[in-house]
Structures are given as structure tokens and as C-alpha cells.
């Protein structure tokens, strides 16, 4: 994802809350400290389809915002 970011594409990594620190650290490791992280609630395992849709509803506005900002 960092490579795509470096090429100028709109990119993001979706992380559940406990993984935000790992995501932030890894973004720095790969030379893209500004790599956007889309934060969704934990957990991801054992979700019903409705709960998965709920996670998507949290993620989508963040992704739309990223795309809009990138287009400017």
C-alpha cells in the first residue's frame, strides 16, 4: 500500500482500533508516515453480515473523504 501511495494513488489501510498503532508504525517503516488509516471498530472475526455492513458504513465516509481530498 505504501508503494501505491508513493506512486500518487489514493490509498488507505483499514485497521480495527487495536491495530492502529501497528498500522502507524508500519506506515513509517515503509516510508509513508502520512499513509491514511481508516479506523473501524474491533473485532472483525465472528461478525454477522449486518455487523460487517456496519463496519463498512464506518469506513466508507472516511474513504470518500480521502478520495475527495485527493481529487482537489
Amino acid at each position: 500500500m505504501s508503494e501505491l501511495r508513493k506512486r500518487g494513488l489514493t490509498t488507505a489501510v483499514i485497521c480495527s482500533d487495536p491495530f492502529i498503532k501497528l498500522g502507524t508504525t508500519q506506515a513509517k517503516v515503509f516510508g509513508t508516515p502520512d499513509l491514511p488509516l481508516v479506523k473501524i471498530p474491533h473485532p472483525l472475526g465472528g461478525l454477522s453480515l449486518e455487523q460487517v455492513e456496519g463496519r463498512a458504513l464506518v469506513a466508507v465516509p472516511q474513504i470518500v473523504k480521502l478520495i475527495e481530498e485527493h481529487a482537489k
Binding site: P18, F19, K21, L22, T25, Q26, V29, G46
Partner: protein, 370 residues
């Protein structure tokens, strides 16, 4: 040989601290450079002595360690080896283990950062085990042996300080494991009725090797009654057939640590390859033993080619391929073996100790050129 004084002039290569054991240990603990136990201060004198057993430039990385992808230079590795309490003659084997776990098939990123509780297990083969007095007998996985304890600890310190396996930042293990302090043993080749692990993995008998496995802690297998190979293997296979293992979902390579007494009984009736085939075929449980949700959401979807319409009596195998089972004879007297499941998304890697000229090193001293 490199010039240590020159290398230590680099930015952040060294720190000046009062020559006080407690002060230094407090500092290392505060900065997250320790495993929680006291460390031996890595003074330049001690690090230089450690590097007497290094055959390459001290500042050139031998590998990059995930997830930080920190450069594992001999200098950095030596500092961690000193901290762990290693003797300098342990250094070549320690470097070899680091190189092995940084090979791509091992998937060090996954092993380090996963929520699973795995740690790199190092199994040593060859005469070097005796040379360095690495325990392969009673309590081989436990405390009490300097080389097992300190080489294993040096690996962990490197995984943290160079690889960045810091809880919540680079190590997301839900529980962690005691094996994350130190996890290094030798195979008990003298008590094994079969060819050693490294020979089976196509290395010459005289080679000195490390085999690294992204492994859980050992789970004991008690069988005091079976008098036949089939009996012992039936007990082992039964222990392997569990519902909560990662290995079920991958082409995994779990380890069967066979106690010498069990191995002797099994070898009366089975070659090592036959024993593996028996274990693969019998380490199975019916699909119905899994939870309804696991069946519906995982087996019927992810493994739909096998289980989309399978009945609840359909077999689920603990290991997919017989040849992938790693059998190592380790331990002392007693009618016990042990099962070591793995992270699953990892492959065991074996590497041999070689001299500068590319020939197999007969010993650590041969490696050093003496």
C-alpha cells in the same frame, strides 16, 4: 575485522551511561530495550569480544528483521548477544538462526506481528550441539542450560530491538508465550533411532544446522501403556486432532517432539516417513466436532471444494501432507512426547553453518578459522 571505535562514532550507535549495573538496567528497561529481565551491559569491550567469532564486516546487514525491517548487522546482533549473556563462541550459531528466520518462506513478519502466540523455535543439529553443550535431553525446553537459555534470549532481544516486536507496535500477540523469552533446543541425535532432522532435510550428516519453526509451546503427550509403534502413534495422532489449531487451515509443518523412549518403540515398527504417513492419516476429527459457525462460515466457504456439502462425519485433517510433519527426537527418559503446532502461515527453514570459503563448518572453531 572492523574498527569498532570508528563504527561507534555513527549517530546513536552508542550511549554514555554511568558505570552502574542498576542505572544501566533501569535505562534499558525504560527505553524498551529489554525482555523484562536484567541485561548484561553491552559495553564496547564486551561487544568487541563477542565479535571475535564474526566472519564478516560488523556494519553490513546480514538480514532485515520484520516488522520494522531493521538491519541486523553483526554489531547490533553482538550487542543483543552480550545483553542476553551469550558466550562469544555462541555467536555464529545465533547469526545463522537470525539469517534462517529472515528467509522469505519463514514469514517473520507474520510470526512476529500476528495475534497468534507463536515464536521462532530453533532446533540445532550436528556436532555443534555438543560443542556448545546445547541441551537435547532432560528439560531441553526448560531452564538450566547456558547455551539454550542465552542464545534463545539473544534471538528474542534481536527480534525486539532490531525487528521491532514490541507489544501493540509490532507484536500483536493476544497472549504472548513463555517461549518468547527463549526457544532453542538441540535434537537428541544420540538417542534417535532415525536419521537426524537435518539429514532428512537433505543436509550432509556432518553439517551443523539450525531449523527454525514458527511454533507454539510444546503440549505434552503421555503414553505409558502402548507397547507398539502403532499404539504410540495412535496416542500422538489423537493429541494432534484438535479444533482450535491454525495448522488445520494451512499446509502447515507442525513438530512432533518424540521422546527417546517413544521413538525407540515407534522405530521398531515404523520408518520415520511411515510414522509421518500414519500420523497424517490418523490425526483427524469429524467435521461435526467443529462449532456450527466454523463449519458454516469457514469450512463450507473457504474450503468449499472439500466441505461445501460434506456431512458432519467428513474427516478434517490436522496436517494436510505427511511429509510436512517434522519429527525430532528430543528429551530424556520418560514415556512422553510433545506436540508443537505452528502459526500455520510459515514454513520451516534449515540453514547450515558455513566457513568463509563456502565449505561446511565442522565446528564453531572451524568456522572461526582455528
Amino acid at each position: 575485522m572492523s574498527d569498532l571505535a570508528e563504527l561507534l562514532k555513527a549517530k546513536d550507535a552508542s550511549i554514555d551511561v554511568d558505570d552502574d549495573f542498576d542505572v544501566i538496567n533501569r535505562l534499558y528497561m525504560e527505553r524498551g530495550w529489554s525482555d523484562g529481565l536484567p541485561i548484561i551491559p553491552p559495553t564496547s569491550e564486551r561487544v568487541e569480544k563477542m565479535l571475535e567469532y564474526c566472519d564478516r564486516p560488523w556494519h553490513e546487514p546480514i538480514a532485515k528483521m520484520a516488522p520494522r525491517y531493521g538491519e541486523a548487522t553483526p554489531l547490533r546482533l553482538a550487542a543483543n548477544a552480550v545483553m542476553a549473556g551469550c558466550e562469544p563462541r555462541y555467536f555464529p550459531l545465533y547469526m545463522l538462526a537470525i539469517e534462517a528466520m529472515c528467509e522469505e518462506p519463514f514469514n517473520l513478519y507474520g510470526v512476529q506481528a500476528t495475534t497468534h502466540l507463536c515464536a521462532p523455535l530453533v532446533i540445532v543439529n550436528g556436532p555443534v550441539a555438543q560443542e556448545l553443550a546445547i541441551n537435547s535431553g532432560h528439560n531441553a525446553f526448560g531452564p538450566g542450560t547456558h547455551s539454550n537459555a542465552t542464545i534463545g534470549r539473544a534471538i528474542r532481544l534481536a527480534l525486539v530491538n532490531i525487528g521491532g516486536a514490541i507489544p501493540t507496535l509490532g507484536d500483536m500477540s493476544t497472549f504472548g508465550a513463555p517461549s518468547k523469552f527463549s526457544y532453542l533446543v538441540a535434537e537428541n541425535e544420540a538417542q534417535s533411532p532415525w536419521e537426524p532432522l537435518h539429514v532428512e532435510r537433505e543436509f550432509p550428516q556432518e553439517a551443523n544446522t539450525v531449523t527454525v519453526v514458527g511454533a507454539e509451546c510444546p503440549h505434552n503427550i503421555n503414553d505409558h501403556e502402548s507397547l507398539s509403534g502403532e499404539g504410540i502413534l495412535t496416542t500422538i495422532a489423537g493429541t494432534m486432532a484438535i479444533t482450535g489449531s491454525n495448522d488445520i487451515y494451512y499446509s502447515a509443518q507442525p513438530v512432533i517432539v518424540m521422546g527417546p523412549e517413544h521413538a525407540k518403540t515407534v522405530a521398531n515398527d515404523f520408518s520415520k516417513a511411515d510414522a509421518k504417513r500414519f500420523l497424517q492419516a490418523h490425526a483427524q476429527l469429524p467435521l461435526g466436532k467443529f462449532s456450527k459457525e466454523n463449519i458454516e462460515r469457514r469450512f463450507r466457504v473457504t474450503f468449499k471444494d472439500r466441505y461445501a456439502n460434506a456431512g458432519l462425519d467428513a474427516p478434517v485433517y490436522a496436517v494436510q501432507n505427511a511429509a510436512d510433519i517434522i519429527i525430532a527426537v528430543i528429551g530424556g527418559a520418560g514415556k512422553h512426547s510433545a506436540y508443537i503446532p505452528t502459526f500455520g502461515a510459515t514454513k520451516a527453514v534449515t540453514r547450515a553453518l558455513k566457513r568463509k570459503d563456502g565449505q561446511l563448518a565442522k565446528s564453531v572453531e572451524d568456522f572461526r578459522g582455528r
